[in-house]
Amino acid sequence: MLRDITLGQYYQADSLLHRLDCRVKLVGTLLFIISLFVVDNFPGYALAAVFLAVCIRLSKVPFRFMVKGMKAIVFLMLFAVVFNLFLTPGTPVVEFWKLKITREGIEMAVKMAVRLTMLIIGSSLMTLTTTPNLLTDGLESLLNPLKKLKVPVHEVAMMMSIALRFIPILLEETDKIMKAQIARGADFESGSLIRRAKAMVPLLVPLFIAAFRRANDLAMAMEARCYRGGEGRTKMKPLVYGKRDFVAYGVLASYLAAAVVIGRVLPI
């Protein structure tokens, strides 16, 4: 069962968005998020919503997958909305006891909700259409200039991809250790939270030991295969921009320009 888990939330499909260079998607998501916070009026949000809707359509990913991501942040969203609703000063609309809801408060709360929703959907769209592997590659390539500042970009990217490779293995191992201990009478499921946390300790110790042993073996195997850092390394799957990627950058730039003009400059 644990063998089949997928990391991230990649949705396998063959669409324009899937085929775009991962760097375009990373930059695009970043620009989209920026645009959401630059825009400050409802026509601007409408534009962003249309842009997002077109992207979702192009991605061929069913909409319910995007909404899945929303569940995780329902609480955060509620917080943001409630605080904005009650704590924004301005002309009061409803007043009871010590709390008052202001016109400005309502506007802020609605804007915040719209922003957060689109932010989450926009970023899940990226993770849904890009494999974790490509995401790591794209990040490494985009952050490459930081190497001049002695930031170990290649090393961090390598660590991320190794982590991705080993998470399912370690999960499987946890499962095995857990079953072995349950078979000998360990109880992970009942009792108070503290008791349950305590029961996890005998699980963590063998897991850590196994992880360190694996790390040691892996380091040796990598060395045996001539791994010596990013220097002088070639790529089996280099990232190459195609025509459609440049077109996509063009579309992104025009979207950002339009968002700034409609959302900020034009007085409505």
Binding site: S161, E223, R228, M236
Partner: protein, 297 residues
């Protein structure tokens, strides 16, 4: 020229006590002199702690000798300038298949070695294709390693080494964690590489059945090479192998017991086919003898 040449190689592990102070040393390999010619299939046997893995790690320059020298294809492993050439010449496959696969897709893992060596992209793809085909894993090139069986994973590891175009591959107990089918797969792949591509193979194992096809078998005990010869020569010394806590293949053992109880069989029978042939020949001989006796009477 010999591809691997060790002379009076010794290696000491340093023991530490609980505070990390040096307590003493343990000699893991002691005074091993060995020479391997290109294209040979060498098997190294020994029970746990006999120093066979330590010896293997010297050939890949993962360990450097405490005393003596190791030359790989004419290069001294102690010279730092040669380090990466040595590792490329003598590839290494380890015991645990999960702990040596780096890529998240089979083909990416096979490409890892060539990437490290700075091979151009187009050539990496050619090497990956040819290596995966050589071990019969080409059909699985797009799979995640997590979905493969142990034997398949180990074959991917061999392909990963093969893509670096080594002259010699050291397999350090590659079958210890596999089921019998996986073991067969891996050994078959290793033998094919040796016979078809002419790659020198150094197979370290404690399964006797895997070494009967080797050109030379070395038996190690307490860091020393105690027996050396063809599989037939080594396995004809059943008593000595037993003293070294090694099992002989069952067929060999059966032949040995039969021989001890009086059947005139030759020494060091290695396969079931061989034993059947010998026994049939023996029976025919006896039948002929019986017939002759009948005819005389």
């Amino acid at each position: 020229m010999n591809i691997i040449e060790t002379s009076h190689l010794s290696y000491d592990y340093i023991r530490h006590d609980e505070e990390g102070n040096v307590e003493g040393t343990t000699r893991a390999v002691s005074d091993v002199t060995l020479s391997v010619k290109p294209g040979q299939f060498i098997a190294i046997l020994g029970h746990n702690g006999s120093g066979k893995s330590t010896l293997a790690k010297h050939i890949n320059a993962l360990l450097l000798p405490s005393e003596g020298t190791v030359f790989v294809d004419g290069m001294d492993t102690r010279e730092e300038g040669h380090l990466w050439d040595v590792r490329q010449t003598a590839g290494m496959v380890f015991q645990n298949p999960d702990n040596q696969i780096i890529g998240q897709v089979v083909e990416e893992d096979v490409g890892f070695g060539p990437e490290n060596m700075g091979v151009p992209t187009k050539e990496i793809w050619e090497r990956v294709e040819e290596s995966l085909k050589a071990v019969g894993m080409y059909a699985y090139r797009k799979y995640s390693p997590n979905k493969l069986s142990g034997g398949q994973k180990q074959r991917v590891s061999i392909a990963g080494v093969l893509a670096m175009h080594p002259k010699c591959i050291v397999l350090d107990e590659p079958t210890a964690m596999l089921d019998p089918n996986g073991r067969k797969e891996v050994i078959r792949a290793a033998r094919a590489l040796n016979e078809v591509e002419g790659v020198t193979i150094l197979l370290i194992t404690h399964y006797m059945e895997e070494v009967i096809h080797a050109d030379t078998v070395l038996v190690m005990d307490e860091g020393r090479v105690v027996m050396q010869g063809t599989p037939r020569e080594v396995f004809s010394r059943v008593e000595q192998l037993r003293q070294l806590r090694l099992d002989v293949p069952q067929v060999t053992l059966l032949a040995y017991e039969l021989q001890k109880s009086g059947l005139p069989l030759p020494d060091g029978i290695l396969t079931a086919d061989e034993l059947t042939a010998e026994l049939t020949a023996l029976r025919e001989k006896q039948e002929r003898k019986a017939k002759k006796e009948k005819a005389c009477h």
